[in-house]
Amino acid sequence: MNTEKATLKDGRTIEFVHDQPRSGTMKEVYFTPDRKSVVCFYKDPCAGSDANRLQRLQMILGAYNPTLPQSHGGAAQNDIEADYYRKLFCWPTGIVVQPRFGLVTPAYPSNFFFPTGPVWLKGEEKNGMWFIGPKNRKWFEKNQPSELGSLIQHFSLCLQIARAVARLHNAGLAHSDLSHNNVLIDPSKGMSIIIDIDSLVVEGLFPPDVLGTKGYIAPEVLSTIQLDLKDPKRKNPNARTDQHALAAFFYWYLLGRHPLDGRRIPPGNTAEEQDLLAFGSQAIFCEHPSDSSNRPEEKQYVPCSALGPLLYDLFIRAFVKSLHSPSDRPTALEWVRGFVKTWDLLIPCSNSSCLHKWFVFHNSTDIRCPFCGTRFKGTIPFLKLRAESRPGQWAMDGQLAVYNQLPIFKWHIYSRVFPSPETDRTRQAYCVFHEGKWFLVNEKLTSLTSPGGNRVPPGQAVELKDGAQIRFSQEHNGRIAEVQMIRS
């Protein structure tokens, strides 16, 4: 193995294998001998002499670094948080000064490369375009459907992206170039990782050096693209444009079409001019409730309302109300809430060859999977979760569609628990369908109480019947589940 040594800014040295590099647009990438890290050299020979870039990188590696505990000069509260965000970000770990200016970052985990497939696919990175591009998608549906994952895995990876971006924004950072190129996704495992962290924007401190990627650039950025870089009217990437990119990615990925890419063709002599308007100043949501001019090209399409009322509201806010008024866009944290809450409405599709395998439950007498059209036949216990908002007042603050083997976690039991990096993820109880009846089986709950007021100890079950009220816990913030049996 032909290795070379690189010297880091902090004096450490690191070995890298000097063979044919993987080449990106900005960097050349070499593996370390153990293949756990990569050394990336900037192609731009002046990159190292840019004092602003250097200072920004030092901040990114240190004070702004959510993958490094505060005790080590990072931003993570503790090791648990640091470990958690290390899975969501490919965060740089060192600045290289010799032989050329560059970065050390962890290598992408192996599940973000295709393990099998034809020669053009095997070993390639799982760039999101493999899954959102219609031709690519069709290829996978036909040839390697296991790579596509199910809707529950799509939700899982969207939730991870939303959490990661929420973490950046919470720290006053903006990614500035969120796109299928900078977020690797592994739908088969429901995982995502944000890469190319080195161009992060610190608002008011470090300006962006990219405009973003086609399809994700916010309308206000596109419509001021012709203005001079120094023109104050020019809109540059920031946290609000990240919010647009985030919503665009979720919509595009979950529904298989771009939210602004409909049948309307704005005036213009060239495709370039037309798209500048279609994605810029004249952008219209393809599912706009009152303006149908830009409907999707397909006659049949799954509307975003199929993803449940919470995600529907977020999409409408992102692409109707605040498409052209950036300050009202849904935040990454709102998307986190939207996915967490909607997760509780996912039920399995009864069509065993359905590619999505899951869909979002909607309370009606004709429950159908919107992706394959298969009608659900049977009974679904639907739990309305109530929490005591004031003494004696129980307000609904959650819903849970029950399927066989549904796990119940602490964030279902207690109203003040929200799933976060540090939340206890042990299953507390689960639901089963047994001999024609539905039961909630207790595993860890110490004060689960039946509708009749009896304690149900761990190992025992309570039946889910229409109208029954089950108290998950007598502790403070313990919720009550009200059962509604829905037949379809």
């Binding site: 647009t25 375009m129 693209i225 890419d261 370039e272």
Partner: protein
Amino acid sequence: MSMGRRLPVYLLLDTSGSMSGEPIEAVRQGIKALLSDLMSEPTARETVYLSVITFSSSAQQIVPLTELMSFQEPSLDANGSTAFGDALKVLEQCMDREVVKATSTTQKGDWKPLVFIMTDGQPTDSWESVADHIKQKKLGNVIACAAGPGADENMLKKVTELVVKLNSLQPEALKAFFKWVSDSIKTTSQSVAQVAADTPIGLPKPDPNNMIIVL
């Protein structure tokens, strides 16, 4: 980023007698490498359509504009003279026929085509007026490559502002050229500049050991 729009890419390749032997074999390998490189790029797979026009004593489109997944490598033979003017005429006809105009009412128009011209010698037919026409009408983003010592970069500058020069017709040089073509296609299919009408496309820097940009 309209997914309905295609990026047409035309390769105009000189297959005159002077290319025979090692150079034409290197071009064949170059197309193979270009194709395999683009096939691994998910955005290119969605948007890029490729056509090959060859020219020797006359010009012909040997591969019509085809999506990457269906593209079959053409067989190439090198002999005859250098009908460069004819090649430009065939290019114009093909683009006229195959590229969907933005004014189409039934379909979203294609992106501005990307045209790569590679020649190793002097034209043997008349070419000036059609070159002038292509340059004036800005029919595509044209990149011309003067390959080897016999090629005339000043002639190519009459077709496009963007000319690269290959030092030799050695396999290494041609390989580097096709790698650069591939990188340029990938960059163009992703670039933001493409959404801003009429801004010059930003191309990746060519390998300085094998190529020089002549502007």
